[in-house]
Amino acid sequence: MHVNVHGTLRRDPWFLSGMTLSLFFLIVTLLGPLLVPFSPWNMDFIPLSPPTLTHLLGVNDGGQDIFSELVYAIRNTMIFGMISASAALFMGVLLGALAGWFGGVVDLILMRLADVLLATPAIMILILVAALFRPSPYILALILSGLMWPTIGKTIRAQTLSLKQSLHVRAARQMGGGSGYIIIRHLIPEMFPLYLIGFAAKARMAMFMEASLAFLGLMDPSRKSLGMMISYALKYYYMDIWWHWLFPPIVCLSLLIMMVTFLAISLEKVVDPRLRVNLHGRTS
């Protein structure tokens, strides 16, 4: 599990552009409320007015400042992606390590559950839940992570199986290390680069799903989101709103998805040669 990850990554242009984008979006997310000139829910302005110096991107049909909306929308998409990806990573690592370490019935049950969840289309469950109950986005993010963990879990399980046979883990076991101790002190820290890949891949899926659900009108309408901005702006497609209302959320959404795609692809490239040796066969 020891690769020169830093050296290879620092020279990878995809990783660097991904990191630059994520730095930018993290700043927007953290400082969002301080950056915006108006509250995005403030409806005092003249609807559908073009961009001016006070309203950088103009005003939407409801009389709200589009720039402020955009900042809040980026923030919401980022937060949704982070929550969902972290929860999926946590579940995947925990359940994957448990399945790999204990084997037997635990493995059988957890992996069968993972297979069932992998086969069920997550978006359909999300649509059903969102359409029926209108839950808060945090609940949707957690449901999504409950459906997304199996890919991470299977990778972690396969890696645990091979680590289980390694000398230092066997030594730790011989010296009387308990299961909990070995999993927390040896297995989990050793698989570090895998977490980054898993996190980036799941954040990508979560952001994509959030934008699509919002676009389909399944999110709380008062919550600002990129998908919903696009869907509202499309209703006025015949007007001159393309450059200041429709394209900004499109560009931001593309950049967000690109950010996680670049990170996932570059990390996978670094870790993959070894993964291919250890995880031969079906891992998805």
Partner: protein, 327 residues
């Protein structure tokens, strides 16, 4: 013990059990979740109105809209294509679904076939010319394209080709009320299909390309390719008969994982281009809170996706005999 469980998972029976459980889970969710809602359609519609229903009328209405009764009854209704009546259109849900399904199959099917074919050939060719400017440009371009979701490509294509250039229609799947002979009709359908199809191809193609290219690079390094070269086989034969067959495996296995993205993308693309498929039906049903339609569309598309997954498992065994012989 680990080998025993793996054997079980690779088993045909294990596979069937997994898919049956997944199908049952989806059916149960679509049956059970609406049950947690307070009230129902009948009380919502007639509760506040001037009309007072007798107990018989109320139960007749409930039966008409297919509410109440147990899970077994629901299962049998699903199997009999009796999915209740749409609240909004007041037509059977199955009629709505089956009138929308062919358009979705046409759109998604052609998008997958085209993007698979060109993605695969481009990936094989790129891997063969590794480190050439062509390969580098392709990989760079495809990585960027992979980061642009369907919402964005769809809206941009709509803006450029439907609104600015006006080459393609912005909505629909065929010209309404047009009386045409067969060929003109096919051309008309193709003309309407072009924009959503291009959007989906742009979304699927980069993934197919990158996966093929990556796995092909690994395959090319294998010893048996060296042998094939040493034998003096023509390059085209090595590329497609020897190497590409094995490079195809990850593309098929990863297909299932990517399908989640693809379904979501297709829903969005249908909505953007107002294409009258299942995605638009679902969108309109969501907008109108048309519960039976949402319920049936979600369940039926999930079952169709599960069937595709299930079929893929057998495709995978067919193209990778190792799986079959490993047992």
């Amino acid at each position: 013990m680990a080998s025993a469980s793996r054997k079980f998972i690779n088993n045909d029976l294990g596979l069937v059990v997994t898919f049956c459980l997944a199908a049952l889970l989806m059916t149960f969710l679509s049956y059970g979740l609406p049950r947690f809602l307070p009230g129902d359609f009948v009380t919502a519609t007639y509760g506040a109105s001037q009309v007072t229903l007798t107990a018989e009328q109320e139960s007749a209405l409930r039966a008409y809209y297919g509410q109440g009764r147990g899970f077994g009854h629901y299962l049998s209704r699903v199997a009999r294509f009796d999915w209740g009546y749409s609240y909004v259109f007041e037509t059977p849900v199955s009629a709505l679904f089956f009138s929308a399904l062919p358009w979705t199959i046409l759109l998604m099917g052609s998008a997958h076939v085209i993007s698979m074919a060109i993605g695969f050939v481009a990936g094989v060719e790129a891997a063969w010319r590794r480190n050439s400017p062509f390969e580098k440009a392709m990989v760079g371009g495809m990585t960027v394209l992979e980061g642009i979701p369907e919402i964005c490509t769809g809206v941009i294509l709509l803006f450029v080709f439907a609104l600015q250039l006006q080459w393609f229609p912005a909505a629909g799947a065929e010209t309404a009320y047009a009386e045409k002979d067969f060929l003109a009709h096919v051309a008309d359908v193709g003309h309407h299909l072009a924009l959503p199809l291009c959007t989906l191809i742009l979304a699927y193609f980069p993934g197919n390309f990158l996966l093929t290219r990556n796995s092909m690079i690994m395959v090319i390094m294998a010893d048996y390719i060296k042998t094939a070269r040493a034998k003096g086989l023509p390059a085209l034969r090595i590329r497609y008969v020897h190497a590409a067959r094995n490079a195809l495996l990850p593309v098929v296995t990863r297909f299932g994982m990517r399908l989640a993205f693809m379904i979501t993308g297709a829903l969005v693309v249908e909505k953007i281009n107002a294409y009258p498929g299942v995605g638009t039906l679902l969108y309109n049903a969501i907008a109108a809170r048309d519960l039976p339609v949402i319920q049936a569309v979600v369940l039926m598309s999930s079952l169709i996706i599960l069937t595709i997954f299930f079929a893929l498992e057998f495709v995978y065994r067919f193209i990778d005999p190792r799986i079959h012989h490993a047992r």
